[in-house]
Symmetry: C2
Subunit: 416 residues, 2 copies
C-alpha cells in the first residue's frame, strides 16, 4: 500500500519546531508493518496545501495529514480538503455539541471561532478526538483515502493509535491483530545485536514477524512486530520469540516495553526495602538526576554527593585515605549515610581539550552490608560520550547487582 | 525566491531518526531571510528520488538536497542528479586526490568503494567539504539550481554556512552581508517579549532587520537578523538595535549568541576566583549537572549534595535545626565546604499524582561571606515543568547575584 505523510504548518516548515510528529507517525506505521513512501512538509498556505493534497492523491493509496485543524484563521486543512475533494464544507452538528460540552465541563463558554472546527467536508467520516476540540476526519481525494489528524502531539498519538491505524490496516488487507514488543539493552552495538538475533524472524515461517532496531546511545531498542489472526494468535507466536530474545541478549536487556533502566533500579531497591546513596565526579550529578526526581524515589534515594576533586570527595564522605578508591568511597558513604546500598563512580578523564579519541577510565563500586562489588571500564569518544556512557554503566551495574547478575561483563563500548 | 528542501534516506523517511537536519537547514535559511516553501522526504529509492527531483525542479528556483552522498550502494544522490539533469557521471580527479590524501593523513588506504564519492554529474560545480569525504555539488535541473549536501550533521552545517548560503544569497539578489544576533532570556514568555520589542524592526526603516523567536522552555531565544551592503554597514545598524534589545529586556537576558546561562555563571565564578557548593532536593542533581562537567568547572565547582528529604539534607550539611530553611542550609553548606558561594534550592512539591496543575514552591538561597540572598517562587504545570523551571531559576538567580543584579524580579512563569 502506497502511504504518504503530509505535515502542515509554518512552524514545522520553517524549522522553528523540530518535526517530531513526522517521525512519530512514521515509526508507528513501520511498527505495524506499514511502510511510508513519501513525506511532504508545507506551510499554512492555501496554494501549497492544495498542491500537496493533489500530488499525494495521485500517487498514494492512503495519506495521513497532520495539523491545520485548529480554530484560527491559519488552520486550513478542512477548507482545502473539501476543495481538493470537490465537495462543500458542512456543519457537523454532533461534533459542535461535543465541543460545547467540552467547554461547559471546563466552566467556559465556547468562543465563536471554535465553530470552525465542526465544519467538515460533506463526504468526510468523523474521527473522534476524546481529549481535544479538533476532531479528525477521513475522506477520499482522487484515488487515495486521506486521514486528517491534529498537530497537538498527545491528541495525534491517541487518534493515530486508536482510530487511524486500525482503519489503515483494514485498508491494507494486512492481518489486523498486531503487537509491538520492545527490548531495551545497554552494552551491545546495533550490528552485534543484529548478528546475535540472526534467524529470529525465520522462527515463525509465515513472514508475520518483523525485527527492527533504534539506537540512541548508550541504549539500543530492539523491536519485534508480530501479526496474527487475533491477539491469541499473536501471543502464541510472540511468547517463544520473546524468550529467545531474552536468551540471546541475556543480561544486556535492561528493560522491556514502557519500562526504563532507572525505573527497574528504583523498583528493585523499593522491593528490597533498600535505600541508595550515590557519590559521583565527572558525571556531575547526572546519575542522581536519573533517579532522584522519580515518583517513589523520595522513599529510596538517600543522598547524592558530587565533586570534581578527589580531595573534596574524601572530605564530603569523611574518608582519611590520601587517594581514595571507589571501593573505599562507596563503603564509607554507605556507613555515613545509613543507606543499604552506596554507589561510587570515580572517573579519570584524559587531559587536554575535547577530541574524538578523548577517553575516561571509570572506577565503579557498589557497597552493601555484604561487601563491595567493583567494575573498571575505559570508554573513548570525547567528553560527552564518556559522560553519557558512565551514567548508563553505573545504572546498569546497579541493576545487575540488585538482580543478582554479574556486575562485570564486557560491553562493546569499552576499550581495554 | 522559491526554495525547497529534499531530505533523503530510509532512516529519515521511516522516522528511525528525527529529521533535525531539516529544521536546521530551514532555520538557517530563515535566519538569513530566505523562506523555505516546500519540504520533501524520500527514501534511498531511485524512482522516488527522481520524481522528487523532477517535481522540485519544476516548482522551485533553488533546492537543497540533504543526504545520499556516502560511499555505499544505497547512496544515490549523484546518480539520480545526473539522470534528472540528463548528463553523465564523470570522475572528478581533484576530489579523488583529496580523498586519497584524507585517508593517507589518517594512515589508511582508501577503500575502493569511496571512489564513487568522486563521481559527479558532468555539469556539476564541486562544493568543498573540508572535514569529510562526501563533497557537495551544485547543478541546474530544470529551472532550479540544486545544492547537494552531506547527511552527517557537522559536515552539513559547515557546508551550508560557508558554501551554500552565500551562493543562495547571490542567486536571490539579497544583500549578502548578513548577521544573526541572538539573545537568550529566562523569565519572560514569547508574547511578552514580542510586545516589549514592538517597533524594533522599524527603527531601521529600510526593512533590512528581521525579528524572530524560538521558545524552548524555560528559555526563549530572540533572533535579530540584520542585512547590509557589507559587514560595516550591518554592524552600524546592529549596534544600536542590540543596545535597544538589552535595554528593553534588561536583566532577563541571560546570555547572547553562543554563550549559555551555565557558561556565564561559571565564567563569573572563575573571574571572581570564587567557588560554589550546591544543595538541592527535587531537582535531583540537575542543577549541579548543568555546571559540574563543564571544562573549567573542576577549579570552581566545590561540592553538590542531593537529597529528597529535609532531614537528610540537615544530616548532609551538618545542621541542627529541625526544619531547616534554604538560608540556613546555604549558610552552613558554605562554611562546611569552604566555598565562597553556596546555593540551596529546597522545593515543596504538591502532593498527589502528576497533573497539569501540580505545582511546587521553590525556596532558594545564595550564601556568601557578605550574607544570604533569598528568592521564593511558585511554579505550576506538572512535575517536569516545575523541575525544569526550578533548575533554570536557580542558575539565573546565581547569575544575577554574581553580576550584581536584583535576585528577586517577577517572572512570567510564576504564580503568587
Amino acid at each position: 500500500m502506497g502511504l504518504e505523510i503530509i505535515c502542515t504548518g509554518d512552524e514545522v516548515l520553517t524549522g522553528k519546531i523540530v518535526n517530531t510528529n513526522y517521525s512519530y507517525i512514521s515509526q508507528k506505521l513501520e511498527d505495524v508493518g506499514l511502510a511510508v513512501r513519501w513525506g511532504t512538509t508545507v506551510g499554512d498556505d492555501r496554494e501549497s496545501l492544495l498542491r500537496a493534497f493533489q500530488l499525494a492523491a495521485a500517487r498514494a493509496d492512503a495519506v495521513i495529514v497532520n495539523g491545520g485543524l485548529g480554530p484560527t484563521v491559519d488552520d486550513l486543512s478542512q477548507e482545502i480538503a473539501a476543495r481538493a475533494a470537490g465537495v462543500e464544507l458542512v456543519l457537523h452538528e454532533a461534533w459542535l455539541t461535543r465541543m460545547e460540552e467540552f467547554f461547559r465541563r471546563r466552566s467556559r463558554t465556547m468562543p465563536p471561532n471554535n465553530r470552525k472546527q465542526a465544519m467538515l467536508p460533506a463526504t468526510a467520516e468523523l474521527i473522534d478526538n476524546p481529549i481535544g476540540t479538533a476532531c479528525g476526519f477521513a475522506l477520499d481525494i482522487g484515488r487515495a483515502r486521506f486521514f486528517f489528524t491534529p498537530g497537538v502531539p498527545r491528541e495525534l498519538r491517541r487518534m493515530l493509535e486508536e482510530q487511524v491505524i486500525p482503519r489503515l490496516l483494514a485498508l491494507s488487507g494486512l492481518q489486523a491483530a498486531i503487537h509491538l514488543k520492545r527490548f531495551h539493552s545497554y552494552g551491545l552495538g546495533e550490528s552485534h545485536v543484529d548478528s546475535l538475533l540472526a534467524g529470529l524472524e525465520a522462527l515463525v515461517p509465515d513472514g508475520s514477524v518483523k525485527l527492527g532496531f533504534r539506537a540512541h546511545y548508550p541504549q539500543l531498542e530492539t523491536k519485534l512486530t508480530v501479526r496474527g489472526a487475533d491477539m491469541d494468535d499473536v501471543r502464541r507466536k510472540l511468547d517463544p520469540l520473546a524468550r529467545e530474545v531474552r536468551k540471546r541478549l541475556g543480561n544486556f536487556i535492561v528493560a522491556e516495553d514502557e519500562e526504563t533502566l532507572e525505573g527497574i533500579v528504583l523498583d528493585a531497591l523499593a522491593s528490597h526495602r533498600a535505600s541508595l546513596s550515590i557519590v559521583e565526579t565527572f558525571t556531575g550529578g547526572q546519575i542522581a538526576a536519573r533517579l532522584a526526581h522519580l515518583p517513589g524515589a523520595e522513599a529510596v534515594f538517600r543522598r547524592g554527593v558530587v565533586a570534581r576533586d578527589l580531595g573534596e570527595i574524601r572530605a564530603a564522605v569523611g574518608l582519611d585515605e590520601a587517594t581514595p578508591t571507589a571501593e573505599a568511597v562507596a563503603g564509607v558513604a554507605r556507613q555515613r549515610t545509613g543507606a543499604t546500598h552506596a554507589l561510587a563512580v570515580l572517573i579519570d578523564l584524559d587531559a587536554g581539550a575535547d577530541r574524538i579519541d578523548l577517553g575516561g577510565t571509570i572506577h565503579l563500586a557498589i557497597a552493601t552490608a555484604q561487601g563491595v562489588a567493583t567494575r573498571r571500564s575505559r570508554i573513548l569518544g570525547g567528553r560527552e560520550w564518556v559522560r553519557l556512557g558512565a551514567v548508563e554503566l553505573a545504572l546498569d551495574c546497579l541493576r545487575r547487582h540488585l538482580l543478582g547478575l554479574p556486575v562485570v561483563e564486557r560491553i562493546d563500548f569499552e576499550k581495554t
